[in-house]
């Protein structure tokens, strides 16, 4: 498992590159690789811009039936999301009007798990499986 800090814009690029490397290893199709790397980019940027910085964890996972996939976890110590349901609704935006990109990222992956409480940061774990 790789742990990558998210403190700067360059870190977001590094997260993209690392996820791409791992995704390629798991035998994801090109389109699926693109989707998961893009989702990772959205979530890493969220952690940076809205979460004040955080951490990304990238690892290969294997399902019970032997399929491989890539799992990425993002954590930040930011203000957290007050209304998670609202944030996951299409078209919701926070403050600056650019949107959290959460609902978009969710559509790009197979599994999406978000936990957040105001004051205790946000954690998002996503998984994309090879077919």
């Amino acid at each position: 498992m790789d742990e990558l800090p998210i403190r700067t814009g360059d870190d977001v690029v590094r997260v993209r590159q690392q996820v791409r490397v791992v995704a390629a290893k798991t035998g994801l199709s090109l389109v699926d690789q693109t989707k998961v790397v893009t989702a990772a980019s959205e979530l890493a940027r969220n952690a940076l811009v809205h979460g004040g910085g955080g951490l990304a964890r990238v690892e290969v996972v294997t399902s019970a039936l032997g399929k491989s996939g890539v799992r990425i976890g993002f954590t930040d110590e930011g203000p957290g999301i007050a209304d998670v349901d609202l944030a996951l609704t299409d078209g919701w935006s926070s403050g600056v009007g650019l949107g959290l990109g959460l609902s978009g990222a969710r559509r790009l992956v197979d599994e999406f798990d978000l936990t957040s409480k105001p004051g205790s940061g946000t954690s998002v774990v996503v998984v994309k499986w090879s077919r």
């Binding site: 814009g9 977001v12 690029v13 389109v31 980019s41 790009l108």
Partner: protein, 117 residues
């Protein structure tokens, strides 16, 4: 931070994005393009993203903004060379980039621009 070079050929500005761009570089590109458009009076902008493997919502919106900025200078922007995987992903993200014209490659992009001349 990497600055993306802008080429001027005739009345068209060419931008070819070769690497995985950091956010600041994209914003910088917007500024540089605005400067060039103002300075040269170019009528068209071609942004070649053939080599770009990832376009997320931020970069997508920046590209759309470049289209809007160009229009303010009475120039048309054409985004060319988007990869199928990128197009599918952007569509899934819900970004249609309706403000920017698109073409398969720079050559077709130029035809589009000249067509409107």
């Amino acid at each position: 931070m990497d600055r993306v070079p802008i080429l001027k050929i005739g009345t068209t500005l060419f931008v070819s994005i070769q690497i995985d761009l950091q956010d600041e570089s994209v914003v910088r590109l917007q500024e540089d393009l605005a400067d060039e458009l103002a300075a040269t009076g170019a009528r068209g902008v071609i942004i070649d993203i053939t080599a770009v493997e990832i376009v997320d919502s931020f970069i997508g919106r920046m590209l759309a903004m470049i289209g809007s900025i160009s229009r303010l200078f009475d120039a048309e922007t054409v985004l060319v060379g988007m990869r199928p995987a990128v197009a599918i992903t952007l569509t899934e993200l819900g970004l249609s980039l309706r403000g920017v014209r698109t073409a398969l490659n720079a050559e077709k992009g130029l035809e589009l621009l000249n067509g409107r001349a």
